[in-house]
């Protein structure tokens, strides 16, 4: 029942997602190692990656658990890290809002940094794509990443060995996202928003993880929108 164009949009998403495996897989393995070293069982560690699918917040939770923080602190801190995903959800709505409810419910489950960044970049490029194509592209970006995120966590949990060169690969993530977002800076308004975002996130880096980014993000969106409004 899948038409040719849906097939090709799915494949385009799949291809776009491939470079991100370079970040996702080592990160998943590292999580498996760190979580089991902190004292989680293998099934707890793998379940973590399966239901949360958010690297930064998973590491935040494990870090606090290592320090035996109260349960509610672990929850609040780790959820705060993920608040940016509400902005992703809002930003995807104009593109995927027309999909069926089960499709939207599924898209929400796989709405992570990489799928959002790849998806929104594509949707801005081809805004007139039918919603089904946008949905299949979005799914394609995660078709390998999501299973490998879970399997990688399991491998790290079972072997207890991180990949060599882990410290060098830590910089693959910033490079990948910077390379993806730079071409999206298409106007003075975009540039001003990006500069506000960087400045705000650095100045607010002392706040609990995730909160500074959220405030910087709001400020940056306001700056971009205001410049667009004034310049027409």
């Amino acid at each position: 029942m899948v038409s040719t164009t849906e097939n090709s949009s799915f494949r385009a998403g799949f291809l776009a997602g491939l470079p991100f495996l370079l970040i996702g897989v080592p990160f998943a393995i590292l999580f498996g190692v760190v979580a089991t070293e902190a004292g989680l069982s293998i099934s707890e560690t793998v379940s973590f990656s399966l239901v949360v699918i958010a690297g930064a917040s998973q590491f935040t939770a494990i870090q606090l658990m290592t320090e035996s923080a109260p349960v509610w602190i672990v929850l609040v801190a780790a959820l705060a890290v993920n608040l940016r995903m509400a902005m992703y959800s809002a930003s995807l709505q104009p593109h995927l809002g027309g999909a069926s409810f089960p499709q939207r419910a599924f898209a929400a489950y796989i709405n992570v940094d990489a799928s959002y960044a790849l998806g929104i970049q594509k949707f801005e490029d081809v805004p007139n794509w039918p919603v089904r194509d946008k949905f299949f592209f979005f799914c394609g970006t995660m078709v390998l990443m999501f299973p490998l995120w879970v399997i990688g966590t399991w491998v790290g949990a079972v072997t207890g060995d991180a990949l060599p060169d882990q410290l060098e690969l830590d910089f693959a993530m910033p490079i990948m996202f910077l390379a993806l977002v730079a071409p999206m800076v298409k106007s003075l308004a975009h540039l001003a928003a990006a500069i506000t975002s960087v400045t705000g996130a650095l100045l607010l880096a002392f706040l609990p993880s995730g909160i500074g980014l959220l405030l910087a993000g709001f400020a940056a969106m306001a700056v971009g929108a205001e410049i667009e409004r004034r310049r027409g």
Binding site: V52, I53, L79, D170, A179, L180, A201, A216
Partner: protein, 111 residues
């Protein structure tokens, strides 16, 4: 770590459900209703407003150097942005940034 197994499963379950609801929020509840123009105008800037801020601390205060600013990583990030923007191409940018990082690290003898 000093949690019972039940507490650990509670943490996993609440984080899973909470994160899902955050991701679902607008996409799920607004559906295909049209949002007001001023909201859409703000949302157009979401990627450039969030993604640069997401990685900026990792570039400026990298974990690998214990949070000290590292000229090599800074240079690699700048090359990445410049090339990706100039070529309008992610892979070109990522490749140039990675090559800059590898090259400068070899030069500075830290490999």
């Amino acid at each position: 770590m000093s949690y019972t197994s039940a507490q650990i499963w509670l943490i996993i379950a609440v984080l899973g459900v909470g994160t899902y609801l955050i991701r679902f929020s607008f996409l799920g509840l607004v559906g295909d209703r049209q949002m007001p123009d001023w909201v859409l105008r703000h949302l157009r800037y979401t990627p450039v407003a969030i993604l640069p801020g997401l990685v900026a601390p990792l570039v400026v205060f990298p974990d690998a150097t214990g949070g000290t600013t590292d000229p090599v990583r800074l240079a690699a990030a700048i090359v990445t942005v410049a090339v990706a923007w100039w070529r309008k191409n992610m892979l070109w940018g990522a490749f140039s940034g990675a090559a800059t990082m590898a090259g400068l690290q070899t030069l500075s003898g830290s490999l």
